[in-house]
Symmetry: C2
């Protein structure tokens, strides 16, 4: 039996919270890894023996980041659109549809190579679990292909056929919703765990979204929702009504939305990379946290509105721009992401949890926000294996 | 004679500007390195032969970043102060003086190890030239020690004895200024190229600053100034009056300041990491650029107000927060930094320049802002050697 003891940890973030410290901090700590699981965590002075030892050199250890919202299977990029938007130039881009065209044109091998690059990027920045959505195919075959390719790299695949109405269905909305609920869902469900809908003016109505989510649930998929990003809408309340694991964006909320979230098991997932990259107002994280809504942070990595895969940057932005404390932000980027994926085996460092850990090149987790942009991830363990 | 041809460069940023493209972009490009210098740059189809070839795989190449403003020789950190500030908690920290105490208490070996870590961090993020200031010693021996240690890692050492008035001189300002201009300067000048003063309310008056800069110039040092960071003051006009290479911060400017800068050889160096990490308003870069002031970007890496060494993040912040175009921001972080250090051998990719280049893991320089937080630096050449 191989066990590894990571010892001389200056600051261990366990996420086994206590009042006043949701991150469950232990100083001068150690963690015992047994195969792919955490076997023990506590004060280094009390550590059990192990077959191998890693000296953390007084540095900080946190749970691996859980990025519960990405769109990583796509072709092309939209750098020109980003540049034009940042310069204030109106840009007649096809937006999501432009990536759909590039994705449809890409071969499996091309998409697989691209995805492998992103996975390496995620791992290098301390992300040990990530969700990947379809949504750049928008035909039965293309969506099924994206779901299949995504399932090669993660268990957390989300079918997002209802990302945007494809151009060819402009005057036939109902037919597209029928397709998503029928043949497309049937083709994607075998590769997917989740179903998601972009419920927003310009995308899908709450009625359409409800039909799609219900169809997915009938096929055994679980619900998540893109909602309330660009304006106030019914996304949040729909998410709560269908017991979605998460409703993502949450920029425009009324008091009823906040109360509904607080009373539910639906996580509010905030995606500050989007606001950074589109120069839009950030969601009001404090309002949610103060109302005791469970908040997660995710990257939304996609080529249009947030082409960053950096969870450390999400933590820094949450602190700088959304007035989250470092503790709240790190919790949201780890345990919060786990809740948003309804996973109880990740997001904390405690006996029985998966051995997904990040050793930082820093003495505290504060440094994730205090040293923005600096690559601070030194060593990553995923299922007990160093990546 | 060893020559290396970097070929198949998708986008080469030469900084040999032409009207409408200050970055002097060449697509499908190649660069020939001969020993420590650039021997040739142009279209790959026209490239000369070389003894070795590197295939850039269609990626982008830019000049190495020039970080003209850092404070990297210090002990301790102020993570707790950062966390408290971000949480809105008033914090009775000693600020710079706290780092002075930690620095004085550190051994040469400790400071040298820390500095080596920062140098590795800078190189890893594509910075090939960096300035380092003293200023956390504030005694003759401590300042001289910091200048000597800094000179071990860079030619661009700045004597900043006039960083803040040390506590022990609270009631004896003139005596401290005398010390800086006399014994302290004499001890630091042999290790330094530059002299700098923090000319700001709460630090040094413009009269004191002038005395100090003149004393430094009489010793053969060149002037640079910290000015107009926390409020409007005389720092910018003083910098122009003494032909300082750069005046750094430039947040609070009046029209006269802008006109003076535009008519001078003094660069306005903007440090957006400070505004990010202190939640202060960003300087108005557009006003400066539109007035044809030369603008540089630098990190100001220091443990108090901006503990980031990431020039890619400075580019992203300049685009997001200061309305600079990507082209302007990349130029400012490379050629602009070179101007701020009055160097004509770095900051561009052209025959005779030092072979300081960065190969990005991206097809365009736009990606530096489009993919914030993502480590995009793939290979760095410094003086023709891969770091």
């Amino acid at each position: 039996m191989t066990t590894t003891l990571i010892t001389n940890i200056g600051e261990l973030t366990t996420n086994v919270g206590v009042p006043g410290d949701v991150c469950g901090t232990i100083h001068a700590a150690a963690v015992l890894i047994d195969d792919d699981r955490i076997a023990w965590a506590g004060a280094a002075a009390d550590a059990p023996s192990a077959s191998a030892t890693v000296d953390a050199g007084g540095r900080a250890v946190i749970p691996g980041f859980v990025d519960s919202h990405t769109h990583l299977v796509f072709g092309g990029d939209r750098a020109d659109e980003f540049e034009a938007r940042m310069s204030g130039t109106p840009y007649a881009a096809g937006g999501i549809r432009r990536t759909v065209a590039a994705t449809r044109a890409a071969t499996d091998a091309e998409l697989r190579e691209r995805l492998a690059g992103f996975v390496a990027e995620l791992h290098g920045q301390g992300t040990t679990t990530f969700e990947v959505k379809t949504g750049y195919g928008l035909t039965v075959d293309d969506e099924a292909r994206l779901a299949r390719l995504a399932a090669e790299v993660t268990d957390e695949v989300t079918f997002l056929g209802a990302h945007v109405l494809p151009t060819e269905y402009t005057d036939r909305r109902d037919q597209y919703v029928d397709l998503v609920c029928g043949e497309m869902l049937a083709a994607c469900a075998p590769h997917s765990r989740w179903i998601d809908v972009f419920c927003e003016t310009g995308a899908f109505t709450s009625g359409e979204a409800r039909r799609i989510l219900d169809a997915g649930k009938a096929r055994g998929l679980r619900a998540r929702v893109h909602g309330n990003q660009l304006g106030h809408g019914e996304g949040v309340r729909l998410a709560v009504a269908v017991d979605a694991a998460s409703v993502d964006h949450c920029t425009y909320l009324d008091d009823e939305d906040v109360a509904a979230l607080a009373a539910s098991d639906t996580v509010a997932t905030l995606l500050p990379g989007v606001e950074f990259s589109t120069r839009q107002p950030y969601p009001d994280a404090r309002r949610l946290l103060d109302a005791r809504v469970t908040v997660a942070l995710a990257s939304d990595c996609n080529p249009g509105s947030s082409f960053t895969s950096s969870m450390p940057l999400m933590v820094a932005l949450a602190v700088r721009e959304m007035n989250m404390t470092v503790t709240e932000a790190v919790w949201a980027a780890t345990a919060g992401g786990a809740r948003a994926l309804r996973r109880d085996d990740i997001g904390a460092i405690a006996p029985g949890m998966r051995a997904d850990l990040v050793l930082l090149d820093a003495p505290t987790r504060i440094h994730l926000a205090y040293r923005p942009g600096v690559p601070l991830v030194r060593t990553v363990w995923k299922d007990g294996v160093v990546l």
